[in-house]
Amino acid sequence: MPGATLGVGVRGPGSGVRGDAARLDPVAVRARFPILGRRVNGHRLVYLDSAATTQKPEAVLEAIQRMYRYSNANVHRGVHTLAEEATAAYEACRQRVARFLHAPDPRGVVILRNATEALNLVARAWGARLGPGDEVIATAMEHHSNLVPWIMLTRERGVTLRHVPITDGGELDLGAYERMLSPRTRIVAVTAMSNVLGTINPVAEMAAAAHRVGAVVVVDGAQSVPHLPVGFAALGADFLAFSAHKAYGPTGVGFLVGRPELLDRMEPVSGGGEMIREVHLDRATWNDVPHRFEAGTPSIVDAAAFPAALDLLEELGMDAVRRHEEELVAYALERLRSLGFLRLHGPLDPARRGALVSFVDPEIHPHDQAQVLDGLGIAVRAGHHCAQPLMRRLGEVATTRASFGIHTDRDDVDALVDGLLATRRYFGG
């Protein structure tokens, strides 16, 4: 494998807890991302917004080009060579995702447009089995996409929605969660990693407790899948949603990974081509899982290009990815804390959080801070991060979020810290 040594070197013994994980070289990784070579407002681009969307490596860009140049056709319906190639490339994405997540059966991988669509599909299709008296448990740190579909369910089906509160340390109150579980609990919806706090939730433990009362577990993996080495089975979830574009792949592709025997029991929510077996003027029968949930022409090229992103992650090794990002978040927390003027949110222990940091400078609104940082070529996110209930819980209108990826290194964190000081000087603080 030609790229096997790129970005990865085996490190010496005794230098850390996870002795067998190879070390990731972010400088070598950075060379794989063409966009990171550009300048923004006269400065080197320091991209710290991977939690919103990741940049795309050369291999993904090439795969998109290759598909459109040589194999562009619609899938599943043609007998000509191009249609066959396009179908094979599209289906290879399903296989690749199953393999990446150690999911035993590719039939459990539904290819959709994004994680939001995946969560909505579960809420609609599995939610159709629920009615008044049934309960859905979500958490106070969910992204709107793992909250609003459940709110919709309360309106449509009279289901009761409950929320696991969070502690002042930015973690789920598991005692409260255990007390909330009952035979009325039908669905537990939880993020594996908070997009605001970075908190890594004990999903396997929560899933085991949910299964004891007969509930199904829906996990938002948008932040965890690209950053943590956790397979579908180990997660203990019944459904896992994530997006390709947050995992170094193209926009317009997301996945619902589910246990096939549960998917088999779900009705489609979108009707049209591809999802049917036989159609009469007044009735139709459904295609098998997973095609039953894939009505209409999908984002073929983008799906076909996504395996190139997963190849890169596996080439680096997810253990190495996690180790790199955990060290980076430890460094970032330490440097940001040493500034002395920031309110930092989320767990303080880097082992319990993913590769992002949310903070507020009490003197400067996050929007203004992000604006000045942009003037320095530093891309961060400012706002409520699609988590308004969490913002209220934190007592903030908005926060600034710096999120990391495989190409982020200490120089990027240093640039951020210098930028925060420059922002203070700019506003005369």
Binding site: G42, I364, H365, H367, G383, H384, A398
Partner: protein, 164 residues
């Protein structure tokens, strides 16, 4: 680290703007409130409340409160400074003229914008136009609700999206 932030930022955060954001005017309560509304920017969670006192079809006083970024705060402060003494029809033209400036149009001169022109640099930062418009769309809602005797709604900057 390279040098400081690049120049266009100084276009956004002009001295007048920074001054109004640090020491916002129009925060004091009014002796009487005729029209009021609450505005919300879903993009960043910023909130303002605009209260207006109207006498003889003229804006007699404005109070703007809330939590917002420097642009939103300065815009609300300038609004509160510029509007008192303007008739309601002049207020409407001021809102429209300010909106025009925010969308990159050169001021026509028909409406006296005064220090409001300090915010003209915002037009070069499309994302921030909503920040500057928040107090103004909230004012629009307050006046509309007052004139029609209708209920007070929560204004939202989202409708700025639909504008040319």
């Amino acid at each position: 680290m390279d040098s400081g932030p690049t120049l266009p930022l100084d276009e956004l955060y002009r001295e007048v703007v920074l001054d109004h954001s640090r020491r916002p005017r129009g925060r004091d309560p009014l002796p009487r409130v005729d029209a009021s509304a609450r505005g919300f920017n879903p993009v960043c969670g910023d909130e303002v409340e605009v209260r207006v006192r109207v006498e003889a079809a003229t804006v007699a006083g404005v109070q703007v409160t809330g939590r917002g970024c420097a642009i939103c705060t300065a815009s609300g402060s300038l609004l509160a400074e510029v509007l008192p003494g303007r008739r309601l029809d002049q207020t409407t033209s001021t809102i429209e003229a300010f909106r025009g400036v925010m969308h990159g149009q050169a001021p026509t001169g028909e409406v006296e914008l005064g220090d409001l022109e300090a915010l003209s640099g915002v037009a070069r930062f499309p994302v921030r136009v909503k920040c500057a418009m928040l107090p103004w769309v909230t004012l629009e809602d307050a006046l509309e609700a007052w004139q029609s005797g209708g209920p007070l709604l929560v204004a939202s900057t989202e409708r700025e999206e639909a504008r040319p």
